[in-house]
Amino acid sequence: MKTFFKAIGNLFRKPVTIAYPEVKTYIPNDYRGLIGFDENLCIWCRRCEMVCPPGAIVFSQDMKGKQTYHFNRAVCIYCAECVRACPKEGAIYQTNEPAGFALKEENINNGWNSLFDEAIKSRAAYAAEKKRLAAEKAQTEKPGKSIAPGDEAASAENEK
């Protein structure tokens, strides 16, 4: 009976719901949002890539050794493990900005998978090139000693 009267009384009370888009819901200011990256501070140690559980960060490398940072907001789980692992404060940081949705054009799944593989390959290629150059140098310095062929597959495995 009590519930019944209460229910009748509720007809004259203000609604308990909030008018959502106009009235904002509570979001803490240290909400775990997008990961930011500062190229100028980074020391390219790739530790963030190593600790990231889902593999949302990958570094590619061109033939001169310059590395580029790639981040996928759809793969990231916003755990901030990369921020904790980074030895250089401020190089990688967490903002409180929520991740936006992805458009079809972005090809965020397959595109990322191929980008990831290419990035790993580009690093392997750079490592192999470096090895070859070093071997060449060693040979010119000490003629007679044979060089080991730059084994791409082996170095690719090391990279992983």
Partner: protein
């Protein structure tokens, strides 16, 4: 003997949120036997944890075993991994883990209660319970930075600290929540229509509960005083923060509701004590060691005892990880407790078991 019918319920059903299949054999509306099938959502998480992820990353993976008790899984894993690398989490980290586990228990229990109300046909109470539950979600977001996947426990400690203003906010919101909880207790206890679907439904005796190894609020409602928080002190100091066992005697849906509601008062007390006596220390114990040997950990998740086993072999990857979720232990008793009930009560009974199939089949 009348004519018997077999009625399936699930794996997709309007009153079931979980991919769970029951096959009831009924005779004139009365359930006389039940078959259960729970393995619809196998995701291969255990295997992935041993082949794809390094042991420090696994705490984030197991956090995704379940959306409701994410923190229980990641804490249990963190503890088992800490045993394997021979470290102990700092005291502050332990307290913060307990804080989040209890906040999580509040939201999980209220969710279960709201579903019991909904499945018993009491939509308004469902809405009300969900409305009151909202504060716990917001507080979890304030503490952990996210509403569901907390990613709070990491191997060695916790990822974030509790800020003073957040602690103040929790205390204040708990103060508004207490009268709301009293109101819920009143409705669940005294509402006549709800009692028709709850009192005496899905009952299980203490002996049967013991024989079938029931855990969690399901067991405590039947009078079986088992709670991991009462048994282990080494990993998380529960008694220090005011844990108390809650049991009931009848073992029916009503008793399970009451156990859950009364446990919320204990959770509130624990949270208050933790905030009042939060020790100062580091948040993480660092180590460079690799997991070695074997270890087990038990932890009281909102649904009962969660069990983790891990084996390391001095590499980054674990050799084996075994998770036993509370719902798995309860399946046998779930099947038994249906017997003799009306088919029409089945949805409310299922909701009162609080099954979590994504934990069970992983």
């Amino acid at each position: 003997m009348g004519k018997q019918y077999e009625i399936p319920l699930g794996a997709q059903h309007i009153s079931l949120l979980e991919p769970l299949h029951f096959k009831f054999t009924t005779e004139n509306e009365k359930i006389i036997s039940t078959d259960a099938n729970v393995y619809y959502v196998h995701r291969g998480i255990e295997e992935a944890c041993c082949t794809k992820f390094k042991f420090r990353q696994v705490s984030f993976v197991v956090g995704r075993v379940c959306g409701l008790c994410s923190i229980s899984h990641s804490t249990a894993y963190s503890q088992v991994a800490e045993k394997l690398v021979n470290i102990e989490a700092p005291l502050r980290a332990k307290y913060l883990r307990m804080l989040v586990i209890e906040l999580d228990r509040i939201h999980s229990h209220l969710l279960c209660l709201s579903h019991v109300a909904e499945n018993a046909g009491f939509e308004a109470l469902f809405m009300k319970t969900m409305q009151y539950r909202e504060f716990s979600m917001e507080m979890l977001e304030a503490v952990c930075g996210n509403r569901i996947q907390y990613d709070f426990s990491i191997v060695g400690g916790v990822a974030r600290d509790l800020k003073a203003e957040v602690a103040g906010m929790i205390l204040q919101r708990l103060k508004t929540f207490l009268p709301q909880l009293d109101e819920l207790v009143d409705i669940f206890q005294n509402n006549w229509t709800l009692s028709l679907k709850n009192k005496g439904a899905g009952a299980i005796t203490r002996e049967a509960a013991m024989r079938l190894n029931v855990v969690g609020p399901f067991a405590r409602a039947a009078g079986l005083a088992i709670d991991v928080r009462n048994e282990t002190e080494d990993l998380l100091p529960w008694k220090e923060v005011g844990f108390e066992m809650v049991t009931d005697t009848t073992g029916d849906v009503y008793a399970r509701n009451m156990v859950r509601l009364r446990e919320l008062y204990i959770s509130i007390r624990i949270i208050r004590n933790i905030i009042a006596s939060l020790p100062e220390s580091a948040l993480v114990t660092e180590t460079k060691a690799f997991p070695d040997g074997e270890a087990v950990v038990r932890l009281e998740a909102p649904r009962g005892e969660l069990f983790y086993y891990a084996k390391g072999n001095k590499t980054q990857m674990l050799e084996r990880l075994k998770i036993k979720a509370p719902t798995f232990s309860n399946v046998a008793a779930m099947v038994e407790a249906f017997t003799g009930n009306e088919y029409g009560s089945a949805p409310a009974i299922i909701a009162s078991y609080d099954p979590c199939l994504s934990c069970t089949s992983r």
